[in-house]
Amino acid sequence: MGAVEWLLALITVGLAVLAYLQGGWALAWSGLASGMATLRAAALLVLFAFAVGGLFRVLVPASAIKKWLGGEAGLRGVLLGMAAGALTPGGPYVFYPLALALYRAGAGMGTIMAYVSAKIVWDVARIPLELAFLGPRLTAIRWAVTLFVPPAAGLLGERILRGYRPPAVAGGGR
């Protein structure tokens, strides 16, 4: 197990102990059951997300990814990353594996930051929900005042993540 696995395991055990202290075995069990219920519901999505990542890697040549989304792609990479992020459906168990697949295929960290940022801020699939619960006016305001975030984060991300390699791929190659 690597450092990230240990860290996550430690936090999970800590939360389980906290749940036990607050509500005994019943709450400790209900937390685990709640997580596993989400996993069961999302299992097929997770499988498809990884398959899409793998197929993407064999279909699109690394040189094309490097040219369009790589570290030297600059603004173009950020723009494409944002478009892809805004249009990706599904939860974190879908888009984070896809972000990792993009990195493995040769995308630059600015592009990855732009992709993640557009998914969390400009999520197109979330618009109907936002409209339903917040109403058109508040939804429009929310979009207007956060519109700048993905491009800003993508361009700044290019700088603050220079040289960063995700631990999942740090062992060698991408």
Binding site: V4, T12, L27, F48, A51, L55, P92, L100, V145
Partner: protein, 162 residues
Amino acid sequence: MTAGIWVIGAAAVALTLTAWRRHRGLAGEGWLAGLASLRQQLPLLLLAFAMAGYVEVLVPRAFIERWLGAGAGLRGVLLGSVAGGTLPFGPYVILPMAAALREAGASSATLVAFTSGWMMWTTGKLAFEFATLGPGFSARRLALYAVFPPLAGLLTLLLFGS
């Protein structure tokens, strides 16, 4: 989730067909690459799901709603950002909560800060970010994102009133 699975499923089918048409073995190669990546990430994903489940049962929801409904102006913006940013729920919990907060009298600026904090600080998604892009990515992204939700609330306050 239902709509998402159709879109991702359709993308997987379309890419499989494209790969298969390009060259017979390529589709299998793509699926194998994906499955190998899944196998590698699986322990982390399992931990991430367990962690998300625990956080969900541990946070006192009613308390947050009472506490936030009372905030207004700059105080509401800051409270909204922090509350939204630390609540680890999905959109089906947070957006109805925002609607309830509006009914309880929360201002537009507070609500924008609340929803922005939730979507940008992504407490409920952090376990997945850790597991894939790594804690180093999360730390840098959060440092960069620290100012965005309060800024969104402030912009709402300045441009659209409360």
